[in-house]
C-alpha cells in the first residue's frame, strides 16, 4: 500500500508539473514521466499486459509524436502572443466548475472500497485475450472499426485535394 501512495504522489506531482512548466517541451517530458508512473500503477494492480501496452503505445509512440510536433512548433518562442485577461478569467471559472463537479460526484459516490477481482490473473495476456475474444468480441471489433475510421479521416485530411492545388 505504501508503494501505491508513493507512486500516486509521483503521478500527481508530475501531472502538476505538466501544467505549470513554462516550456511546452518540458511539459511533454513531464507527461512522459506521468505515464510512466501509470505503468507502475498497472503493474501494482497485476495488469501486466495493460502496463506494457501503456508503455509501448503511450510512452513509446503517442508521446514521441507529441514531442515531434512540439519540437517543430517551438522553433520560434517569441511568436506566442500573450493571452488576454478575459480568456484567463474564463479559463479559471471553467476549470473551477469542472473541479467542483468532480469533487461533488466523488462525494456522492462515497469512499470506494477496493475492488477484489474474482480471478487475480485476469491481467495476464492469455486470460485477457480469452475474455476479450469470447465475452466482449462485438465491442472489441466495433472499436477496431472506430480506429479505422479515425485513420481514414487522418489520411483524408493529410492528402491534398488535387482540384484545389
Amino acid at each position: 500500500m505504501n508503494t501505491f501512495y508513493f507512486i500516486a504522489f509521483l503521478s500527481v506531482f508530475f501531472s502538476i508539473l505538466v501544467i505549470t512548466a513554462k516550456n511546452p517541451v518540458h511539459s511533454i517530458l513531464y507527461l512522459i514521466l506521468t505515464f510512466f508512473t501509470f505503468t507502475i500503477h498497472y503493474i501494482l494492480l497485476n495488469a501486466q499486459f495493460l502496463a506494457i501496452v501503456n508503455f509501448i503505445v503511450y510512452m513509446g509512440a503517442i508521446l514521441v509524436l507529441f514531442l515531434y510536433t512540439l519540437m517543430l512548433m517551438n522553433l520560434n518562442k517569441e511568436s506566442e502572443q500573450p493571452k488576454s485577461n478575459l480568456i484567463k478569467i474564463a479559463a479559471v471559472i471553467g476549470g473551477g466548475c469542472f473541479l467542483v463537479t468532480i469533487v461533488a460526484s466523488l462525494r456522492a459516490l462515497g469512499a470506494s472500497s477496493p475492488v477484489v477481482l474474482k480471478d487475480p490473473g485476469l491481467g495476464l495476456v492469455k486470460n485477457l485475450g480469452k475474455t476479450l475474444f469470447n465475452e466482449y468480441l462485438l465491442p472489441f471489433e466495433v472499436s477496431s472499426v472506430l480506429l479505422l475510421s479515425a485513420m481514414v479521416g487522418a489520411v483524408l485530411l493529410a492528402t491534398k485535394d488535387p482540384k484545389t492545388t
Binding site: I32, Q48, I56, M59, G60, A61, V64, Y68, M71, L124
Partner: protein
C-alpha cells in the same frame, strides 16, 4: 527469494552488463578492421599487437576530452539525452535467455535475468523508448541540424516500429507465447523459427537496422546533409555514450534476432551432446554457440554498412510504409491461414 538467489541474479546482471560493454567496445574495433578489409586498407594497428588496444585508447580519449555544453543549450536535458540513450540500450538484455539452466550442486542457475511472460513486449517497449535519448539530445542542443536529426530519428523509429511489431505478430502466431524463455525452448535442437517464418525474419532484420540507426538507415546522423545529425553539438564522453549506445543496441538486437528466429542457445544434436559431455557441458556449449550466432549478426550489420549506400529520406519512408507494412500484414494473413489449415 533467498539471499543466495539474489546474489546469483546480481552476479548475472553484472556479468551481462560487463559482457555487453566489452562487446560494444570491441565492436568499434571490429567495425574499423572490417571497414579496412572492405576498402583494402590495414585499419588500426598502432595500439598494441594488431591494434587490439585501440578501443581502450579511444575510451581514454573520450573521457579526457573537454566537456562542452553550448551556451544556448538547455543544460539538464543536454545531459539527460545521452544518459537515456545508454540506459535504454543496457536494460534490453534483462529478458534474453542466454542459455538453459545450469545445475551446480544444489543450486539451479537460470541464465536469464527475468523470465517475464510478456518478454517480447518488454523488448519492444525498450526499443520504442530508445528514441527519446536521440530526440531529447537533439532538441536540447539548440542547433538546427541536431533538431532535424532528432526529428528524422523520431519519424523513422515510429514508422519501422509498426512493421517490426507486425512481423513479431506472425511469429507469435507460430509460438503461441510471449515469453522469450518459452520461445527459446520451443526451438529445441533444429526446430528454429527461421524455418517457419523466413519472411518475418527478413522484415524484422530490416526494421532492426532502422531501429538501431545503422547504415543504410542512418539518416538521423547523415553527415552529408546534417553535419553530425543529432550529436553535432556533443563532445567527449557524452558523444561516446551515443556511439556506445548504438553498438550496444546492435548487440542486443542481434541477441533478440537469434533468440526469436535462429534457435537461441539450441543447436542440432544437443540431446546427443548432453548425453556425452554432461548436461552442464552441453549448456555451456549452447551459450557459446549463442554468442557465436550473435557475433555473426554483428558482422552482418557491419558488412551491410560498408556495402550498401545510405537511402534517401523519402525512399526510407516509402520502403517502411509501402513495402514493409503490406508485406508484414500479408505475412500475418498467410501464417494465420496455414496454422488454421494444419490444426484442423
Amino acid at each position: 527469494m533467498e539471499l543466495a538467489e539474489i546474489g546469483i541474479k546480481f552476479a548475472l546482471v553484472t556479468i551481462i552488463f560487463a559482457i555487453s560493454l566489452v562487446i560494444a567496445m570491441y565492436s568499434t574495433y571490429a567495425e574499423r578492421k572490417i571497414a579496412a578489409f572492405f576498402q583494402d586498407r590495414i585499419g588500426p594497428n598502432r595500439a598494441g599487437p594488431w591494434g587490439i588496444l585501440q578501443p581502450l585508447a579511444d575510451g581514454g580519449k573520450m573521457f579526457l576530452k573537454e566537456e562542452i555544453i553550448p551556451t544556448n543549450a538547455s543544460g539538464f536535458l543536454f545531459i539527460v539525452g545521452p544518459s537515456l540513450a545508454i540506459m535504454t540500450a543496457c536494460i534490453g538484455s534483462a529478458v534474453i535467455p542466454w542459455g538453459q539452466k545450469l545445475v551446480i550442486g544444489s543450486h539451479v542457475i537460470d541464465l536469464q535475468v527475468a523470465d517475464i511472460n510478456v518478454g517480447i513486449l518488454y523488448i519492444f517497449g525498450v526499443v520504442s523508448l530508445g528514441v527519446y535519448g536521440v530526440m531529447i539530445g537533439g532538441w536540447a542542443s539548440n542547433n538546427k541540424y541536431s533538431l532535424l536529426g532528432a526529428i528524422r530519428a523520431a519519424s523513422q523509429n515510429i514508422s519501422y516500429e509498426i512493421s517490426m511489431g507486425l512481423s513479431i505478430i506472425a511469429l507469435l502466431l507460430v509460438t503461441g507465447t510471449l515469453s522469450l524463455r518459452q520461445i527459446a525452448e520451443q526451438q529445441h535442437s533444429w526446430h528454429w523459427n527461421i524455418i517457419y517464418q523466413p519472411v518475418g525474419f527478413i522484415l524484422f532484420l530490416v526494421c532492426a537496422f532502422a531501429e538501431t540507426n545503422r547504415t543504410p538507415f542512418d539518416l538521423p546522423e547523415c553527415e552529408t546533409e546534417l553535419v553530425g545529425g543529432y550529436h553535432t553539438e556533443y563532445s567527449s564522453m557524452k558523444l561516446g555514450f551515443y556511439l556506445f549506445a548504438e553498438y550496444i543496441n546492435m548487440f542486443i538486437s542481434s541477441a533478440v534476432m537469434v533468440t526469436l528466429y535462429w534457435g537461441a542457445y539450441n543447436y542440432p544434436f544437443m540431446d546427443w551432446m548432453a548425453a556425452h559431455i554432461g548436461t552442464n557441458g552441453a549448456v555451456i556449449l549452447g551459450v557459446v554457440l549463442m554468442f557465436a550466432k550473435i557475433f555473426l549478426f554483428i558482422f552482418f550489420f557491419m558488412w551491410v554498412r560498408w556495402t550498401i549506400p545510405r537511402f534517401r529520406y523519402d525512399q526510407l519512408m516509402d520502403l517502411g510504409w509501402k513495402v514493409l507494412i503490406p508485406l508484414a500484414i500479408a505475412n500475418i494473413v498467410v501464417t494465420g491461414i496455414v496454422i488454421t489449415l494444419i490444426n484442423r
